[in-house]
Amino acid sequence: NAGVTQTPKFRVLKTGQSMTLLCAQDMNHEYMYWYRQDPGMGLRLIHYSVGEGTTAKGEVPDGYNVSRLKKQNFLLGLESAAPSQTSVYFCASSYSGTGRNTIYFGEGSWLTVV
């Protein structure tokens, strides 16, 4: 039961570098999400996808891009990393996006931008 898996788990970037966080789910969920978790801020939605080939902005999308080329994968990209993007990133998925469904999370990716 893999559920939602994301890689890498830890990464240190220099300001201005780029990287991609990979997320995969094996539950055939339509909806996928990327959140960031910061102390005192809770979980904030960066981008989400309602199905293969679709993406949409969440609460804090600036500085990030996403792609959903396959239903099971959702990629989060940082084109030019900034220290403000130091955070823990969580990928998640749900059967639908009505807000009535359980959201399943990955284990998190710790990103430090120096």
Partner: protein
């Protein structure tokens, strides 16, 4: 605007003491309320949802629409309850689930 408020960032109780984690919400529609928990070194996972009206690991939560609250309660805290707890608000239509800032529960021996 939709909002979830968890007023306590940290809650510390002794083992065996009752615990209540507060959650208040603001939403004009018909809300769905959830509690998610994140134990140390584990992923965030659903603890319970109001529609199920069940007790999970001794925790219960009642939706009070009059007070717009969904407080999480347990009569006797255990050390293994130490974790980060997030209250979440969902709803119908295109509404996306939003999370509170979280409360870290620390149960002391």
């Amino acid at each position: 605007a939709q909002r979830v408020t968890q007023p306590e960032k940290l809650l510390s109780v002794f083992k065996g003491a009752p615990v209540e984690l507060k959650c208040n919400y603001s939403y004009s529609g018909s809300p769905e309320l959830f509690w998610y928990v994140q134990y140390s070194r584990q992923r965030l996972q659903l603890l319970l949802r109001h529609i199920s009206r069940e007790s999970i690991k001794g925790f219960t939560a009642d939706l009070n629409k009059g007070e717009t609250s969904f407080h999480l309660k347990k009569p006797f805290a255990q050390e293994e309850d130490s974790a980060m707890y997030y209250c979440a608000l969902g709803g119908g239509g295109g509404f996306k689930t939003i999370f509170g800032a979280g409360t870290r529960l620390f149960v002391k021996a």
